[in-house]
């Protein structure tokens, strides 16, 4: 039995924008229904019979490779507390900044023991995903 490869599937675009995937094998016909749409970052969102997967665009992966030690906002939020200042030594798991999103409190914590080298936010700031909030130097902390 031949190994399944992406080329076995034939994709046809429907008038409502969905993709109909069909394949004929020795066992019969297969049919799947999918929706695919590209977002403004070039990532492709795919829904295949209810399962959703996001395939990031190459540019997005490159842009997200941040300088080591910079903690970013993971989603749009508002800063409600800044608990550290440059020069502070923090332990692993220490809360550095408190964010508020959808009326819930999210703590941003240090992934490893480190020294705070810079703070790029203040209470009240509305931050977008990718915005650097706190810089940490993992080498500088006393282990």
């Amino acid at each position: 039995m031949a190994e399944r490869s992406p080329d076995d599937w034939v994709a046809q675009r429907r008038t409502d924008g969905a993709w109909e995937l069909t394949r004929t094998t020795t066992a019969g016909h297969d049919r799947r229904l999918a929706h695919a749409v590209t977002d403004e970052d070039g990532a492709v969102w795919v829904s295949l019979d209810g399962e959703v997967v996001v395939v990031p665009g190459i540019e997005l992966v490159r842009r997200r490779a941040v300088a080591a030690g910079s903690l970013e906002a993971p989603m749009p939020a508002q800063v409600t507390a800044v608990l550290v200042a440059p020069g502070d030594d923090v332990g692993e798991g220490a809360t550095l900044v408190l964010l508020d999103a959808m009326k819930m409190e999210l703590p941003l914590t240090a992934p490893r023991a480190a020294r705070v080298t810079a703070v790029h936010c203040a209470v009240g700031d509305r931050v977008a995903p990718g915005r650097a909030l706190v810089d940490l130097d993992h080498q500088a902390s006393p282990a």
């Binding site: 994709a11 995937l21 929706h35 959703v52 395939v55 993971p74 819930m104 703590p107």
Partner: protein, 426 residues
């Protein structure tokens, strides 16, 4: 004015302001909202009416010392709750005395931010209990009816995720007992219009023990499961009661005509500890068919922001049996298309497919216990490659890389800001 079920719907000030302005508030009178809105007052009223309550403490002294002493009396594990709270906000679980102070501080801050009131009370946390609530409706002519129960145990951090009616563990006798307690509670509160009495239930069927948890003086998010299961229009009944009409309904006419189930679709990423999501609704297609109802707050092209509650839509199904309702819900979730931001749809489908859920064997801690199983997904990468290739006329290198590393393509490489987030409290 119909206040819906948002934060203003349980504000006595709104009901009173309507009266002052000569408007009809569709709900109970302001003083009833005020009394039942204070969880402490509600408990006192229920105890006086002979309705069993969850063991707890309501210290008038709100200092940390007094709360610590009260906690020692209530016993662990316990819940810290906001007196003015709802929807899981201002609530914290405390397993041992060492974590009490932290929980008190966080709950108070959250309650002050959400409700403008940081008053806290404590309740023993019953283990493996079910959250079963009873819908009540009362008219201005003295009639008080119960409209059977809803099973709401599938919750995460005290936010309901999946609800159904009737409950798989409520026997006809238990339904009569729960209904009688709910009607007694509504009468004790001088209730009018639609409301819900929430109970925690230990055990099943005739032998079950239940305890009053709280009363919601408004229509609830999950009211459609009652509507579909009983063949009633609750909002229409609310309008009738507000207009002064008598409920033309007898208690013996309240009979389930099938099994209803609701899935709440949230803008959240269960794989990332349910972090709320924001983004554009790039594509949205609702499922449809016999016994499928979608109550949605979104349209294709909408931008979902963090300024609002993450509930996007409710999918409710009705079928002749519970097994068929589960199957219908799973199919409807598979037919639903929502692209552009992450949601809990996959998580919902996995929950409905789980043998425990199929058997109706769960409790309020079940979703938390099974978190890992419910957030593991294995998309078929070959099929996906075919779709993406067709859509983009190229095979993205990212998909190649993902397949090589056997990681799902949704995982972004390089420094991952999600791992920096600590335990998210929601």
């Amino acid at each position: 004015i119909h206040p819906g079920y948002g934060f203003l719907s349980e504000r006595a000030e709104l009901a009173a302001a309507c009266v002052d302005a000569g408007l009809t508030f569709i709900g109970p009178p302001a003083e009833v909202i005020a009394r039942m809105g204070s969880k402490l007052e509600a408990r006192r009223l229920m105890e006086a009416a002979g309705v069993p309550c969850v063991p707890g403490a309501r210290p008038a002294d709100q200092s940390i010392d007094a709360l610590r002493a009260a906690a020692a009396e209530v016993g662990y594990p316990l819940l810290v709750k906001a007196s003015a709270g709802g929807g899981g906000k201002g609530m914290r679980t405390v397993d041992a005395p060492e974590t009490l102070d932290l929980a008190l501080g966080a709950a108070r801050r959250e309650a002050e931010a959400a409700f403008g009131d940081g008053t806290l009370y404590l309740e023993r946390r019953l283990l493996r209990a079910r959250h079963i609530e009873v819908q009540v409706i009362a008219d201005a002519h003295g009639a008080v009816l119960h409209l059977a129960e809803r099973e709401c145990s599938l919750q995460r951090r005290h936010q309901k995720v999946i609800e159904e009616a009737p409950s798989p563990i409520v026997s006809p006798l238990l339904r009569r007992r729960l209904g009688a307690a709910a009607v007694a509670a509504a009468r004790a509160a001088d209730y009018r219009n639609a409301g819900t009495i929430e109970f925690l239930v230990e055990g099943e069927d005739d032998e079950a023990r239940f305890y009053f948890l709280e009363m919601n003086t408004r229509l609830q998010v999950e009211h459609p499961v009652t509507e579909l299961a009983l063949g009633l229009d609750l909002v229409h009944l609310q309008l009738d009661v507000a207009a002064g009409l008598a409920l033309g309904l007898r208690q013996d006419e309240v009979v389930p005509r099938g099994h209803a189930l609701e899935c709440r679709i949230y803008a959240e990423s269960p794989e990332r500890d349910f972090l709320p999501q924001a983004g554009p609704v790039l594509r949205y297609r609702e499922p449809s068919g016999p016994g499928v109802r979608v109550d949605s707050g979104i349209r294709e092209g909408d931008e979902i922001t963090p300024d609002f509650d993450p509930l996007l839509a409710k999918l409710i199904v009705l079928a002749p049996s519970r097994a068929l309702a589960l199957a219908r819900a799973r199919q409807a979730l598979a037919d639903l298309v929502l692209l552009g931001l992450h949601t809990n749809v996959g998580y919902l489908r996995r929950a409905l497919a789980h043998p425990d859920v199929q058997r109706g064997a769960f409790h309020t801690g079940w979703l938390a216990e099974h978190h890992d199983e419910l957030t593991m997904s294995t998309p078929d990468l070959d099929d996906l490659a075919a779709v993406v290739a067709a859509a983009q006329r190229r095979l993205p290198a990212a998909l190649q890389r993902s397949r090589a590393s056997a990681a799902p393509p949704s995982v972004v490489e390089a420094a991952d800001p999600w791992t920096a987030l600590g335990a998210w409290r929601g």
